[in-house]
Symmetry: C2
Subunit: 457 residues, 2 copies
């Protein structure tokens, strides 16, 4: 009997996911159904594979959705997170396992008891971040504990960047994922973390001036800024007593300082709309945020406002975006400043046809063993193959696919709504990811408890 | 027949309001009822006045509230704005006029038709700001129009400050009104205004660095920062075509630059609570917002973070607040940063027993007359008598009282839910306020269209 996998939602991020299953279709006896509301963009090579069926499915069509769930053995949802819950209910009704790469919502979490009763595995947060970060961190944390060590510090940073060979703009950045998330990053409240036993708070308008540096052999230096809530996984990781807990986002050095110019100007604000946004030039957009002057140019006003010199690289970064161009227009109606800025950035930061992306992840583990404080730094770098087969799609899609097969093969058996923090899950998946070139380099370094390379502009 | 006035809510701001009515009780044949949930704090001299009755009233007690409304000729609500609406409904039911110093809510505005049908006057925004600002501005705007002028610019600034003779701290500031409003000032979205025909937006974290200066003869220099929405009264004032429209708050020069330190640190944030706030020292509070260091002092970290030298007056301002004291503790449980900052400031900025407050208001009117651009600047300064009889209580209470009597005497007759922007209202009240020492100095100055003394740090 073939094992039948239903994949709901087949966006750009599913290339590796589909390839993984199709390559193993014969040896593992798999049949794949790809269900999406729009099936036009699914590649021919996938569509025409003998083990693959493509179905046009509107997940709001309850009858059709339930029929699909009922006729498969396991369901993967690659839809936006808020659409998972209905499919999850179907999976419980028809006793099907369920896999997603999304954060566990409160609603989904509340199904845990029912899921356990039926002996099902609902695996979530099994992509890159969240996903590989959980697995790689927990593997090292558990190992430290097995050796008798006591955790003191955990820091974790992930970034989606452009590969060094395609890194050809002054920002060392291109959009490799949802641009809107990049523009709004860090908004919605102060960033909160713990350092050496004390809570620390960074307001949004200071976030990009409180970075720290990381060096990765062969790839040079990176910087990280704090995520909004670093304390989310304190319980799940068993780090309630840890002195330092900090999670963040990685960029190339200098990105944050330059991005801070947009923050300072107010261009990342998404809370109000500009009435006359449609047809506004880039130059007029910039001038919205600068004081009036009957004589001074927009350029001079901005340089004075942000206190940057004409020969400052910050200034070059703004020029590179054509920010002062009065012929380039924004075609958005009643747009927020954030939406208008996104448009301007997309003009410049969209991956070109031959561009490759790059994923970087960096963990720090501080611990005490036999009275001695120690630290392990671990990092991984993944480079994409091309614009379709990105490092992002690879690092999100492969863990999802591997977890799905492991559940079908009875390798992951503990029931419940869960995230991949148990050995049963992370050990085999991390081992298999290695074969696909995704592995962590570990370095024993002196314990510091803090990063001396952190900047406090 | 005596005319019966019901005053609901008798807080600190009602001293002048009550005095005004009681002094005129005999000549104007007035009977006053002061209704409050807590009547303990009403002064003996007021309570024992023959024309005055004091009633303990819970406005959520519908029966008692309606009996009170029914048995009077006019009702003044000095309660918080959100509590007006129920009393307003009672006033319609029993055909009573209604007066408040609060902003007109959408709910209240929606009663306009009913109020007009019954021929009632519902006068709102008749305190200081809003209130005296509307009246003094409209008197000059209407005069300019009557002369054939076309309005080009309107700017208006108000501030509640401490009188020069009691101005003895480095911030040149003490709390003369609700401290919470001062700490949260400017939050909730970007400030929006129009200057020389273009929209301008200032994000909160830049608000206190975009000030402009004003000189008032005999009182020296002040500064102003933008209110959140300067465009609120565009229609009401008939200024739809004006090139510059800007409203703001006045402080002594240097306040905003210093206040900006709190904003930059994140201390004015009211959106999250600090778990371990109770018993936290001032010093620990400051350290929440600074990077961790195993060696550097909180003082040095803050100076470096905000880029201020040890001999900078900004630094002296922080020291004056005992911000680095580790013995002074904050007794608030689960408090927000804003609440904790407020506590620290109240320690330093509370009006002393012999302190007097000061109200300043500054308007600018730009217009074109016979092809020539002109400008009128108008300002007023009001000094309080003592901690009970403050300039704030005087400038809020007197216009409310005068409007109430004018309605009773048939001097204000136009029915509807309204604000004091018509001649019928502002002419007699501004004339009477003059007798109480509240008057505007006007100066003809060259038209500029912008303020060359505006700082854009």
């Amino acid at each position: 009997m073939p094992r039948k996998i239903l994949i709901v939602g087949a966006g750009k991020s599913t290339s590796y996911l589909l390839d993984y299953f199709l390559k193993k279709a014969l040896s593992e006896n798999l049949l794949l159904t790809i269900a999406d509301i729009d099936i036009g963009h699914i590649p021919e090579g996938v569509k025409n594979h003998t083990a693959c069926t493509v179905a046009q499915l509107d997940i709001l069509n309850i009858k059709s959705r339930r029929e699909h769930v009922q006729s498969h053995d396991i369901v993967i949802s690659m839809l936006p997170a808020k659409l998972h819950i209905e499919i999850a209910h179907d999976c419980i009704d028809f006793r099907k396992h369920f896999v997603t790469a999304s954060y566990v919502s409160e609603e989904l979490k509340s199904l845990d008891e029912k899921v356990k009763e039926k002996g099902l595995v609902f695996m979530n947060e099994i992509g890159l971040d969240p996903g590989i970060d959980h697995m790689s961190a927990m593997q090292i944390i558990d190992r430290i504990r097995e050796e008798g060590g006591k955790m003191l510090l955990f820091e974790s940073f992930t970034g989606g960047l452009v590969a060094p060979e395609c890194d050809n703009n002054l920002w060392n950045y291109k959009f490799t994922w949802n641009p809107r998330n990049v523009v709004l990053a860090g908004q919605g409240g102060a960033a909160k973390f713990i350092q050496e036993g004390t809570y620390k708070y960074i307001p949004y308008h200071r976030l990009f001036r409180r970075t720290e540096f990381f060096d990765i052999e062969g790839f040079g230096r990176f910087e990280g800024y704090a995520n909004r809530d670093s304390l989310n996984y304190r319980e799940a990781y068993g780090l309630q007593d840890v002195l330092t807990l900090y999670r963040g986002t990685m960029r190339r050095v200098g990105f944050s300082k330059a991005w801070n110019m947009f923050v300072q100007l107010g261009m990342t604000d998404d809370s109000y709309t500009i009435e006359n946004s449609e047809g506004m030039s880039y130059r007029e957009f910039v001038n919205l945020f600068l004081p009036y002057s009957p004589t001074d140019s927009v350029e001079l006003k901005l340089r004075h406002y942000l206190k940057i010199d004409q020969d400052d690289i910050m200034w070059e970064k703004l020029l590179e975006l054509n920010l002062f161009d009065s012929t380039k227009k924004i075609a958005l109606k009643n747009a927020t400043p954030a939406q208008m800025l996104q448009k301007i950035l997309e003009d410049n930061w969209t991956l070109g046809p031959s561009d490759k992306d790059m994923i970087v992840m960096y963990h720090k583990f501080g611990y005490e063993l036999n009275g001695i404080k120690k630290q392990i730094d671990a990092n991984t770098v993944v480079i994409g193959e091309n614009r379709m087969h990105t490092a992002m799609a690879k690092t999100v899609g492969l863990p999802v696919a591997m977890a799905t097969l492991a559940i079908l093969n009875g390798k992951i058996v503990t029931p419940g709504v869960q995230i991949p923090i148990r050995k049963e899950v992370y050990d085999p998946i991390l081992a298999e990811l290695k074969k696909y070139g995704i592995s962590f380099q570990e370095h024993n370094v002196p314990y510091l408890g803090y990063n001396p390379d952190s900047t406090v502009g």
